[in-house]
Assembly symmetry: C2
Homo-oligomer: 352 residues x 2
């Protein structure tokens, strides 16, 4: 049995008893019951994922996977393709948005090259997990072979298992890849049955003509590849990107080790959805962060029944929204761990 | 000229040139223009408040003011009045929600007693700014005299000026006071002209009968006190609480020193609105945080034209939502300060 099959089979269900135990602990804290709103639900979710009434997310990682996309040749991005490699270098050098927000979150930033067009040998801090020099153009046929998809998934699984072994307690998903909103929107359309125009946005900043072209490209991709809901691996291979398949692997690996995974925007969330199609129980480990401007993102969050924690109109990707959410996850956990109970603090309860 | 009058007169307008300079700096960063959404607007606001293209909020304080409310005798809270003093002690001991979230934000927690019913001599870490043993019942007449309101306002101003002198760069507002959602809702109704039932919520957890009683109490308070929009000080005295007037003073003091003030939920925001009625330019320094469950809170945020940054269904007060927002303010500032530009990082711009 290969690593992918083994990992999918190893994803455990949520521990609902742990979630209930977290809620009981929260109800004894010096506050009106339920008054911490979604932070209470978040603490319960983290307890259910980690199977404990004392979840912990102090040790945090942001995993940013990068790759290029053959579909970029269709003119679906406002930026030229070489920006992928440049932005990977920028991430590693500490100057990208995610570099700043990972530092701000106190999270380790793990960057890996799953298949940027030009290799990045000279950039320290970028792991080489290359599957090839970018995908093929998904508007003309499958973006990758099934074997390539499995290699990406297993690279992501390996990364997650390694981080688990190092004591990482929560993983935020991020990505860099010019053209990857096209790939992600195509995947969302295929996985949800929604029309391309309902799940396609302006990415890094397309104008109306560019947006229309992007929708047409996705329509062609669906027509050419005919993805089937019964074949999630084939769908991911046909429409995904190396970094998207890699992130799906990170989700599966993390889920198999009871590690919560924070989704970012459209691309990271499309990867999460692809992972859930491969192993439905993996949905349990997914924690939403923001709702991005990209139309397809809200569609994924609805499909996964994971309403976003906040909406700041972000559309940068890279894991920036997920990194911001880490503060909220940690807040939920710290409130659970550090607040006094009515009994401890000698505070009169309302008796309810 | 007394401290209150002097401070109101000293509130400067926003520096719009600084805001524009911040936006220009953001536009040069390695990201699609505008892709950081509200974080960009937040950075611009902070620049406008601090009158610089390099705003800084690394040095943070959460100011929690506490007092008791005569209106508690009307049975408007799910908790007994002694809980105010107990919760102040809990805050100071580090076990309250705000204690945890101030630590999590890396903010200094400043707690002051503006008039808890029973004095708190034995609690270290609580400043004595007592104006009296709680307000009078606002349903039967003014909650305090105009002189008491001025004393509270000036206590808050003094606190803000002291923090400014110590280098604090942003202040989050918090409060503790059984009965204070009734006072705050009455203030909101008086300041906005909205009907009591439109701005009144369940506070710490009233049932339907309790909520109806609370609305009736507020209606009586407005009838008995007849607050006038032309007399903001009289309105605050009639319907406010010592801690609410104190927080209004903190807003005025901070605004006079160009220090951003993060509003919390209903009560802190009602205090902010009262401050704006005394000195309209003080609105410039106000930064929203969350939208609480309390109906009156959304009304204030609409009135101040400060849409919330997030909505997590919080209804704890104490400054918990404001403390959580500090992470976002700091994120906005750090992105501005630490992200590389296209030129620095050698990344190709889209040419837009």
């Amino acid at each position: 049995m290969n690593l992918l099959t083994r990992t999918c089979a190893a994803v455990p269900p949520l521990d609902q008893a742990a979630a209930a135990a977290v809620q009981r602990r929260l109800d004894a804290k010096t506050k009106p019951r339920g008054s911490l709103g979604r932070l209470e639900a978040l603490a319960c979710s983290l307890g259910a994922i980690q199977a404990t009434d004392a979840p912990d997310v102090a040790s945090k990682a942001v995993v940013v996977l990068a790759a290029d996309h053959g579909v970029a040749e269709e003119g679906v991005s406002a930026y030229p393709q070489e920006v992928t490699a440049q932005m990977v270098a920028n991430c590693a050098a500490g100057g990208a948005g995610i570099s700043v927000l990972a530092r701000h979150a106190g999270a380790r930033l793990v960057i890996a090259d799953l298949g940027v067009k030009a290799p990045l040998p000279g950039v320290p801090g970028v792991r080489d997990l290359r599957v090839g020099p970018g995908t093929r153009n998904l508007a003309r046929g499958p973006a990758m072979t099934r074997e390539e998809a499995v290699r990406c998934l297993e690279a992501g699984i390996g990364l997650a298992l390694e981080l688990a072994g190092e004591g990482i307690q929560v993983i935020a998903l991020g990505e860099v890849g010019i053209g990857n909103t096209t790939s992600a929107s195509a995947l969302v359309a295929a996985c949800t049955g929604l029309a391309p125009e309902a799940v396609t946005g302006r990415g890094t900043g397309l104008d109306d003509v560019g947006l229309q072209r992007k929708v047409e490209v996705i329509r062609r991709a669906l027509h050419v590849n005919r993805p089937s809901p019964e074949d999630p691996l084939g769908t991911l291979a046909a429409l995904g990107g190396f970094e998207i398949a890699g992130l799906a692997g990170v989700v599966l690996g993390a889920a198999s080790r009871r590690i919560p995974v924070v989704m970012d925007g459209l691309i990271a969330s499309a990867a999460a959805l692809a992972a859930v199609r491969l192993a439905p129980l993996a949905a349990g480990c997914l924690v939403p962060s923001h709702c991005s401007v990209e139309a397809g993102h809200a569609a994924i969050l609805r499909e996964l029944e994971k309403p976003p924690l906040f909406d700041l109109g972000l559309r940068l990707g890279e894991g920036t929204g997920a990194a911001l959410a880490l503060h909220l996850l940690e807040a939920a956990v710290r409130l659970l761990r550090e607040m006094a109970t009515f009994a401890d603090a000698g505070v009169s309860d309302s008796g309810r």
